[in-house]
């Protein structure tokens, strides 16, 4: 609760400020160093002006004593200034690197605690984008923006103050190009209408979509020899984007070129000399006092232009910061408060009036009630889209039910600490995921401290030990690098993983089985050995493997329509019987695979 309050209080600040909060002191120091340093770097210009004045006014001979001092002081300032700037930038970079690793780990930590269902609605690319790309974009801000800003301000401020001190009238006129630049620049920016900006952004997202469609579709398109279609879409998107880009930038080109031309060093130098000559002609200023202007004023152009560009970095970084902050604010899967979690007694599982809708009203499971007695085998069957996998995911707490509750050993899943939960419920799901690591690391994923003997024992039980030993690097084989494993072999690794964890309840997605005859037999014998004595929930896609289950739950459109043993269900001659016949397992001819259910 207290933590929530802190967050809501901080929420009023911008995402960038919230993210950079921990390094704000370091950044402030870096900016001050860079600002002061850049100002010092410019001291030699004043030194040159002073030398010229000394030589011309006092005569070179008289001034020759002072000149070396001026040179020495100027160069000392130059060296000190550069040292300060470098230190400031180094500091900012180190702060960024420090912050980056913290943010990345905070993201990983947060995402490890959000409901698992979150990952099915967010592309893995989005996670990569946040953890890698967005935080790298922040680097522009943390490591570069603030110090560069400081340097620009330092350079501009000291130049302006110096020139004003020498002659404020000439200073105002010599610096005239800069406000003019902003005027033109601002007017040009204003000409970007909301509509054109939208057009441009729409064009950009259209091209992203067309690219995905085009590239992913190439294999299909090539297979069917109808290359034209997807290609057309891509061409259209490219052309459309080009036009939107032209509409967007076209009217800006000339005004921006004009604005840039006004503050190029050449122009500033010419303006300075023109007004300077005029002032000298009018007798308002000594000729030697024009020199500081010629030396210093053109140098303001660089920082001025840079300030304009810096805006881009901020805009990009702000977008990135928002995305990162959004992820850091993703609602967590409700966890029992520390100390209040309840350890389940026993392994009985009950679904009580469970309802869950994950994507609109079409994808719903509701009114689910059943009990898994310890040590029994329960199978869930039904046509695809019936909600079988949703039941498995709810039990594994990928997400929580909207209504009703699921209990393990009499305790609501929501009150069980996730480590306790996953020690009791293991699973082997349809999509086997091996980690890019050695085979032994993969098997020991849940128990990294397991001994090699334990790992090998699990692999033996999973019928994969011999295959692993046949690989040149054995258990040290890195998946996907040293060897390609077949689907069936990957499944057996996943089974070994579950065996090593040794949970009393096992959820099995049985579509795993469809690889080839050889591995199927191996997978199945591995599973049946491991499953005996445990509570088993099987999501069955084929019916012939589950005929001996203690209980079969038949699902149809999110509801339980039949429950019973194989023989009873066949005798009922309902949905299950139709599925059985459709699968062609019995002697009957296939009819139709879909049950007709009147809601």
């Amino acid at each position: 609760m207290r933590e929530d309050k802190v967050i809501s209080g901080a929420e009023r600040r911008s995402p960038v400020r919230r993210l950079l909060h921990p390094v704000r002191t370091r950044l402030a120091v870096a900016v001050i160093l860079a600002t002061v340093g850049q100002a010092l770097v410019l001291v030699p210009l004043a030194g040159i002006a002073l030398i010229a004045k000394l030589a011309l006014v006092d005569g070179a001979g008289d001034a020759s004593g002072d000149i070396p001092d001026v040179v020495a002081i100027s160069l000392a300032c130059l060296v000190a200034g550069m040292a300060l700037v470098t230190t400031g930038e180094l500091l900012a970079h180190l702060a960024d690197n420090w912050l980056t690793v913290r943010l990345r780990k905070a993201l990983v930590d947060r995402l490890s605690k959000v409901p698992l269902g979150w990952f099915s609605t967010h592309a893995s690319g989005a996670v990569r984008q946040a953890i890698q790309d967005d935080i790298t974009t922040l680097h522009e801000l943390t490591a570069h923006y603030y110090t560069t800003y400081g340097r620009c301000i330092g350079a501009i401020a000291i130049s302006v103050v110096y020139l004003l001190a020498i002659d404020w009238r000439l200073a105002v006129l010599a610096l005239l190009p800069f406000p003019l630049f902003h005027l033109i620049f601002g007017a040009a920016k204003k000409s970007i209408t909301e509509e054109r900006l939208k057009d441009f952004i729409a064009g950009q997202s259209r091209i992203s979509n067309a690219v995905v469609e085009f590239i992913s579709g190439i294999p299909v398109v090539k297979a069917f020899g109808t290359a034209g279609r997807a290609h057309e879409g891509y061409r259209d998107a490219v052309d459309g984007f080009q036009k939107a880009f032209l509409r967007f930038t076209g009217p800006l080109v000339v005004p921006l070129a004009n604005a840039n031309a006004i503050i190029t060093p050449v122009t500033v130098l010419a303006v300075t000399l023109a007004f300077g000559s005029l002032f000298v002609h009018l007798g308002w200023i000594a000729a030697v006092d024009v020199l500081p202007f010629a030396l210093v004023a053109p140098g303001i152009s660089g920082p001025m232009m840079l300030l304009g560009f810096l805006g881009h970095a901020v805009a990009n970084a702000t977008g990135a910061a928002e995305r990162v902050q959004d992820l850091l604010d993703t609602p967590l899967l409700e966890q029992p408060a520390p100390g209040t979690s309840v350890r389940p007694e026993g392994t009985e599982i009950r679904f009580e009036g469970v309802r869950y809708a994950y994507d609109g009203p079409n994808d719903v499971v509701c009114d689910i009630d059943f009990t898994l007695e310890p040590g029994t085998v329960t199978a869930i069957v039904g046509p695809s889209g019936a909600g079988k996998s949703t039941i498995a995911r709810l039990l594994l707490r990928f997400f929580d039910p909207d209504r009703g509750r699921i209990t393990l050993g009499g305790v609501d899943l929501r009150q069980i600490a996730s480590t306790d939960l996953y020690q009791r419920i293991g699973f082997v799901l349809q999509d086997v995921r091996l980690i890019h690591a050695s085979l032994s690391d993969n098997i020991a994923l849940g128990r990294p401290s397991a001994s090699r003997q334990a790992v090998e024992a699990a692999a033996r039980l999973a019928n994969i030990h011999d295959r692993i030993m046949a690989l040149p690097r054995g258990y040290d084989t890195v998946v996907g690098e040293d060897a390609r494993l077949s689907g069936g072999e990957e499944q057996r690794i996943a089974i070994a993983r579950a065996i090593l964890l040794d949970p009393p309840v096992l959820v099995l997605d049985e579509a795993t089985a469809a690889a080839d005859a050889e591995s199927e037999a191996a997978v199945q014998s591995a599973l049946s050995g491991f499953a005996s004595g445990r509570t088993l929930l099987v999501i069955a896609h084929r019916l012939d493997t589950i005929t001996h289950a203690d209980r079969i739950i038949v699902m149809e459109r999110g509801r339980v329509v039949e429950v019973g043993k194989h023989a009873d269900l066949l005798a009922l001659n309902g949905c299950y019987a139709r599925l059985w016949r459709a699968g062609g397992y019995g002697d009957h001819l296939p009819e139709t695979a879909i049950c007709e259910v009147t809601p």
Partner: protein, 577 residues
């Protein structure tokens, strides 16, 4: 880097060359114009108002000329950007469309997507934000060197010596930066991969996170990126220090040289010349400092261009010069050998067999025995390393890609659906198919059941990649697509196409319907399918271990017999028995 850019621009390269030429002339012109400021200042300091005025007029004219030229440079720069956003994007599209299907792995596809969207955007902005300031910043100082020579030979010499020294230091520091940068990019890529894995395997990672084991891989990658980031910071700081300090050292040398000229009694014109030379020294160093600051931007662009280069230099599948047409619907392999990567053992070696027109061949064998690869070779996802694949008596490399794809229809695991309706996606198989044809194929593939359930039936929009359908449903649409194509040869991967009972049934219906009418090659999984075949090829470790009719092979005590026994064992297996 320039090579990759020119390769990318191809026909538009002259646009780029013209633009660079203009940027160079702009640099020269602004250098000369700045030099014109020297006599103005000199005139003022000497009290020669008239001379100053004359030069001032020239200076102002130069400024106007610079302004006009600058505008043209920027417009030309936009032109280059447009050429990249338009022409180059299309060129990449045309190029990848000719690459072998096998190239489109998940990794390559993702990388390509990034290049075409973000990469191109970044490269397109190169001219405006990087090339113009870089070129003019590098050219102007050269003019300053000649002007310095005219005023003060010693200072001219210092400036002249600085230039090659500076180039040397730039090269050295770029080299320093690059080594660290490459290491950093590698560790960043590792983190990216781990982040994707973290998201995709989240369920497994979380369930097996007992001792923090689930996140340790990603956290390890983040830590190592952190470490290589630190190294990169120190090295790039060093390279910035080198770049900037060599220039400031040159500046200091110029100031010292100038002030030493003032130590004795010198005439006013000489003092004026020295002062003017110091102004030139400032104008010499300033743009070079800007150039030094662009190092990072150039490095970023080089990475993008290297990626582009890698895609554009990928070899497309060769098209025959004198294409031949297949004579019938037979498929024949002669001594075919193929490996995915050099140095790895071949996945298929010395495979030979022949499928007569209109007959059905079942491919069986353990996973990893090369069945899928064989199918891919027949569909020309890749070309064989040795031996040849022939269709209708013609090497497939001598058949035009259009004719080849007209011959073959595939039902593989790859079931990408395009944005559009279910009917649209089925029609990809045969664009001129009638509604009745679509319905017939849909019925055979079991798509009609899906359409019946959806509000808009066959007109239901499936979303990108078919995201609004389940995996099994997408697969069935892909089966219908393969069926409607009506080509003489059908390739089916039963193991991966049959996700669930409904799909299994659709495949079985398809096979029994088309048997005897088409040449069918099927990676068989079901015993019933194997029994349907006219001939069987048993693969083992990439080789054809046995081939013959089902009856012949059953009689032999070989792999096929073993397969049948295994099947029976799998059939006999019961959970909870």
């Amino acid at each position: 880097m320039i090579r990759a850019l020119l390769l990318l621009l191809s026909d538009d390269a002259p646009v780029f060359r013209r633009y660079v030429l203009m940027a160079v002339s702009y640099g020269l012109l602004s250098g000369v114009t700045i030099a014109a400021a020297v006599p103005v200042l000199g005139g003022l300091l000497r009290g020669d108002g008239e001379g100053a005025g004359r030069w001032l007029v020239i200076l102002l004219m130069g400024v106007v000329a610079c302004w006009l030229l600058r505008r043209r440079v920027e417009i030309a720069g936009i032109g280059v950007g447009l050429a990249i956003l338009g022409g180059a994007r299309l060129r990449i599209g045309d190029h990848v469309a000719r690459l072998p299907v096998g190239w489109f792995t998940a990794e390559n596809t993702a990388r390509l997507g990034h290049i075409v969207t973000h990469g191109m955007m970044e490269i397109a902005q190169l001219p405006a934000h990087v090339v113009t300031p870089l070129v003019s910043g590098a050219i102007t100082p050269i003019v300053m060197v000649s002007a310095l020579f005219a005023l003060e030979t010693s200072m001219g010499l210092i400036a002249l010596v600085t230039l090659p020294l500076m180039v040397g230091v730039f090269v050295l520091s770029a080299w320093l930066g690059r080594a660290a940068d490459t290491a950093y990019q590698l560790s960043a890529a590792e983190t990216s991969q781990r982040a994707v894995e973290f998201a995709q395997a989240q369920s497994v990672l979380r369930a097996f996170n007992g001792e923090g084991g689930g996140v340790r891989f990603l956290e390890g990658a983040i830590d190592s990126q952190h470490r290589s980031g630190r190294r990169l910071i120190w090295l790039s700081t060093l390279s910035v220090v080198l770049n900037v300090w060599i220039l400031q050292a040159a500046f200091a040398a110029l100031v010292i040289a100038a002030s030493s000229r003032l130590s004795n009694d010198v005439s006013v014109p000489e003092i004026v010349a020295v002062v003017a030379a110091m102004l030139l020294a400032v104008c010499f160093v300033d743009p070079l400092l800007d150039v030094a600051a662009f190092g990072a931007a150039v490095r970023g662009a080089r990475n993008q261009l290297a990626e582009v280069d890698r895609v554009l230099t990928e070899d497309p599948l060769s098209e025959p010069v004198n294409p031949e047409r297949p004579r019938d619907a037979s498929v024949e392999l002669r001594d075919v050998t193929f490996g995915y990567r050099r140095g790895e053992p071949a996945v298929v070696s010395g495979a030979s067999f022949r499928v007569e027109p209109g007959s059905m061949l079942a491919l069986i064998g353990a996973s990893g025995s090369g069945k899928t690869t064989l199918m891919r070779l027949i569909a020309r996802f890749f070309d064989a390393d040795a031996g040849k694949v022939m269709i209708g008596g013609v090497d497939i490399r001598d058949i035009s890609s259009r004719d080849l794809s007209a011959q073959i229809s595939q039902i593989f695991q790859d079931s990408w659906l395009f944005q559009g309706s279910i009917a649209d996606n089925i029609r990809i198989g045969r664009p001129d198919a009638t509604d009745d044809d679509v319905r017939a194929a849909a019925q055979l593939a079991g798509v009609d059941e899906i359409a019946d359930r959806l509000p808009d039936g066959f007109d239901t929009i499936v979303g990108e990649g078919g995201a609004r359908l389940s995996g099994g449903e997408r697969q069935r649409v892909a089966i219908a697509r393969g069926l409607i194509k009506d080509s003489p040869i059908l390739l089916v991967d039963e193991a991966t196409a049959a996700l669930d009972a409904e799909n299994q049934e659709a495949i079985a219906r398809t096979l029994s319907r088309l048997r005897g009418k088409r040449t069918v090659l099927v990676i068989a999984h079901q015993l019933s399918t194997v029994r349907m075949a006219d001939a069987i090829v048993v693969m083992e470790n990439g080789r054809v271990a046995e081939q013959g009719s089902p009856r012949e092979l059953e009689a032999r005590d070989g792999l096929y017999r073993h397969f049948l026994q295994q099947r029976q064992a799998a059939k006999g297996w019961r959970i909870g028995a």
